[in-house]
Assembly symmetry: C2
Homo-oligomer: 157 residues x 2
């Protein structure tokens, strides 16, 4: 099989895809607005990643940075913005007061889930056109790529 062509097609598709994903969609703003929050919110992929990570429980800023794959200052920034809009809260870990634990503001878990849902939709649509085997292979591919590029970038494991 001609893998070279697949590789090149991936090199063409991946950046284009990410530009589309990054393109601000006004949908979430409406969703937030309906809750009486600020209407000019831009929800970036990074914010979505944080919201998803938090569904699995509170996280320190450092853990978020690692899970999302950004530097600690970038994680601080992501949390700043989400906190600014009342989505999440910071409180320092009683066990280690250097650590800042981030969690949903009470009642915002559901709002977050709706915001994430909006992001999920196009992805869901795309996946509905794949078989189970294809969907699994796709995600497996993403995992392999992330690992491979991570190694290239000198990621310590």
């Amino acid at each position: 099989m001609d893998r070279e062509r697949l590789v090149d097609e991936t090199l063409m598709l991946l950046p284009t895809l990410m530009r589309l994903v990054e393109r601000p969609s006004p949908v979430e703003m409406g969703e937030i607005a309906r809750r009486g929050l600020a209407t000019d919110v831009q929800v970036s992929p990074g914010h979505i990643q944080v919201l998803i990570a938090l569904t699995r429980g509170p996280r320190s800023v450092g853990q978020l940075a690692e899970e999302v794959g950004v530097s600690p200052p970038a994680a601080t920034q992501l949390v700043d913005k989400l906190a600014e809009h009342g989505m999440v809260d910071r409180h320092s870990d009683p066990a280690d007061r250097r650590v800042v634990l981030v969690d949903y503001v009470a009642g915002m878990r559901e709002v977050a889930s709706r915001i994430v849902e909006d992001r999920r939709r196009p992805l869901h649509d795309a996946m509905s056109k794949m078989t189970d085997v294809e969907a699994l292979a796709f995600v497996k591919g993403l995992r392999l790529l992330a690992r491979s590029f991570g190694a290239e970038a000198g990621e310590e494991v």
Copy 2:
């Protein structure tokens, strides 16, 4: 099967992957340096996309913008930088002098191919761990996602 989990994992993986892909890798610079060109070159995913697109023949700036999935000014910028480093050339289309045709500078086709090769490597490594079926499913998934997100972003077809 639990598609929701796959969707969420994709939402977590995709942005992380793109950050890794965007991370400047010093490899290409070395490659370029060996040819006597400037050593401080940063080759972004967008530049790689242009270089790949040009392997299929000369392209107008507008065509490049469309293939790469960016606005015309962004395409101009990409071409600017590649031209600055002597990789590509502009000449106006004799048939329509508004059109600017972009093509490799003589002899740079091979250099470009080496630069792209460096980008290909981690991708190639990752794909070598997939079966043929998986690799095809992966690329098919990327295509579906690009289409789906493109539709969401109001892409005219």
